[in-house]
């Protein structure tokens, strides 16, 4: 049988769809740890980035911490977390949260800084209170970049959750790690395919979400945002 025939057979095997080691449960583990990590990271990163961007002070420090954060390999982060808290859910969770923070800090900071000062001024001139200016003017204008940051973090987290199998947590990475360990290229390839599909699915889903949450007047060409953030964050 050809290699691809074996892969198809692997997917058709009902044993791979049942119980704790089946695809549905591995998918659930993968998605749930990713979602929990993303939410925890957002609760830390967004208030910091938005506050620093809004106040306009301490920006360089926040950006430098974020940039150094990007240089720490996620693989190393995960292994260090094991040495701190042992194996299982927690090291994976801690590593994923740490990984998710930098893009959201950077983007929410840049998003808030890029709000035209004249616009905030005009809003104050119209009698809005500081809090209203933040919620009704600055945040909606910064929303596309903030969402782009959330998307970047989500993609990084889903990708790195694959490595969580190394620290004895489940997730779809289990099939890849086990496939590597057992020299089982069919399992390895099938698992990799599942992870790739999940990642692309999450990316597309978040793109749609980002489009929906962007005020119509602020919609800009795809790709431009990434470049803007990327360039600003290394400047």
């Amino acid at each position: 049988m050809t290699f691809f025939g074996q892969v198809v057979q692997w997917f058709l095997d009902s044993a791979h769809w049942q119980g704790d080691v089946g695809i549905p449960n591995r998918l659930f583990e993968h998605v749930s740890i990713s979602a929990e990590s993303l939410i925890a990271a957002a609760l830390i990163a967004l208030p910091v980035g938005i506050a620093v961007g809004h106040i306009g002070r301490g920006g360089n420090l926040a950006m430098n911490i974020s940039n150094v954060g990007r240089a720490v390999p996620s693989f190393a982060l995960l292994v260090i977390a094991i040495h701190l808290v042992g194996i299982g859910f927690w090291p994976a969770f801690i590593a994923l949260v740490a990984l998710g923070i930098p893009p959201m800090v950077t983007n929410s900071y840049v998003g808030m800084r890029e709000v035209d000062a004249d616009v905030s001024e005009a809003a104050r001139g119209m009698g809005m209170r500081a809090r209203t200016v933040l919620w009704r003017v600055e945040l909606p204008i910064a929303a596309p970049l903030i969402m782009a940051g959330i998307r970047t973090s989500a993609i990084n987290i889903v990708a790195t959750a694959t490595l969580a199998a190394l620290v004895a947590y489940g997730g779809l990475g289990r099939f890849i790690i086990d496939g590597l360990a057992q020299r089982d290229t069919v399992q390895l390839f099938s698992g990799a395919l599942l992870v790739a599909l999940l990642s692309v699915g999450v990316e597309l889903g978040l793109r749609v979400l980002q489009r929906i949450t962007t005020p119509v007047g602020l919609r800009i060409k795809a790709g431009t945002q990434e470049v803007r953030t990327a360039r600003l964050s290394t400047a």
């Binding site: 240089a71 190393a76 694959t162 360039r231």
Partner: protein, 227 residues
């Protein structure tokens, strides 16, 4: 009674200098391999990204497809991409490099297109007026003016690649990642700390070095912000 893991952790300090001094050649080899894997990936990435980027910039119709394909490659997790390649290219440097190069493409192409788009129209018209033909204009006017943005892309691609190289330890390559994996397998902190520290240090040094290189090759932009 304490579980053995906790006792082990208490006895294993974060750094054991005697292990480091006994393993200098191992550490040096890992560092050299890490640099090699990174340089090959970024250079090959640039060789592919420059023509594709120029194509995406010139031909609006190709922009969407080029961004979509490189975007999907960028989205697929590194371990997954390596695993998809293994049945075809095995546990080899080639597998590692195909994966690493794939990740540089989106970043590099985005920055090339953005940099070229940002060249002012008046500058282009002046060049035409001075008698530049399109190829000479591209090489001597457009590309040089786009260098700061392109170099920003090279810096991001390089820092990202240095991080991703550590993952290739799982497919038998890895550079400094092999030290990190060693730390994981033997539950031993020192190689883990050394591998992580050197990897971060390498990323920071590469980033600063490339920023310096950019200043060197674009003397006209010195003293001005490129952001």
């Amino acid at each position: 009674m304490l579980p053995t893991g906790i006792v082990g952790a208490a006895q294993d300090p974060w750094i054991r200098w005697d292990w480091i001094s006994a393993h200098i050649p191992v550490i040096r080899n890992a560092l050299v391999q890490h640099i090699e894997l990174t340089v090959i990936a970024v250079v090959v990435g640039l060789l592919i990204a420059v023509p594709l980027g120029l194509l995406a910039w010139r031909q609006n119709i190709l922009r969407g497809p080029i961004f979509s394909v490189t975007g999907i490659l960028y989205t697929i997790p590194s371990l997954s991409l390596f695993a998809i390649l293994i049945p075809f290219t095995g546990l080899t440097v080639l597998t590692a490099e195909i994966g690493l190069v794939s990740y540089t493409l989106l970043i590099l192409i985005l920055n090339i297109v953005e940099g070229m788009d940002a060249v002012p129209q008046e500058v282009r018209e002046s060049a035409r007026g001075m008698g530049y033909r399109s190829l000479a204009e591209l090489l001597r006017i457009d590309l040089p003016l786009a260098i700061p943005t392109i170099m920003a892309g090279v810096r991001i691609a390089t820092v990202t690649t240095i991080g991703l190289v550590t993952v290739t330890a799982l497919i038998g390559e890895g550079g400094l990642g092999s030290l990190i994996l060693d730390g994981l397998i033997r539950d031993f902190n020192t190689p883990l700390v050394v591998g992580t520290f050197l990897s971060v240090l390498l990323a920071v040094v590469a980033d600063i070095g490339l920023a310096g290189l950019q200043r060197l090759i674009t003397p006209w932009s010195r003293g001005r912000s490129t952001a």
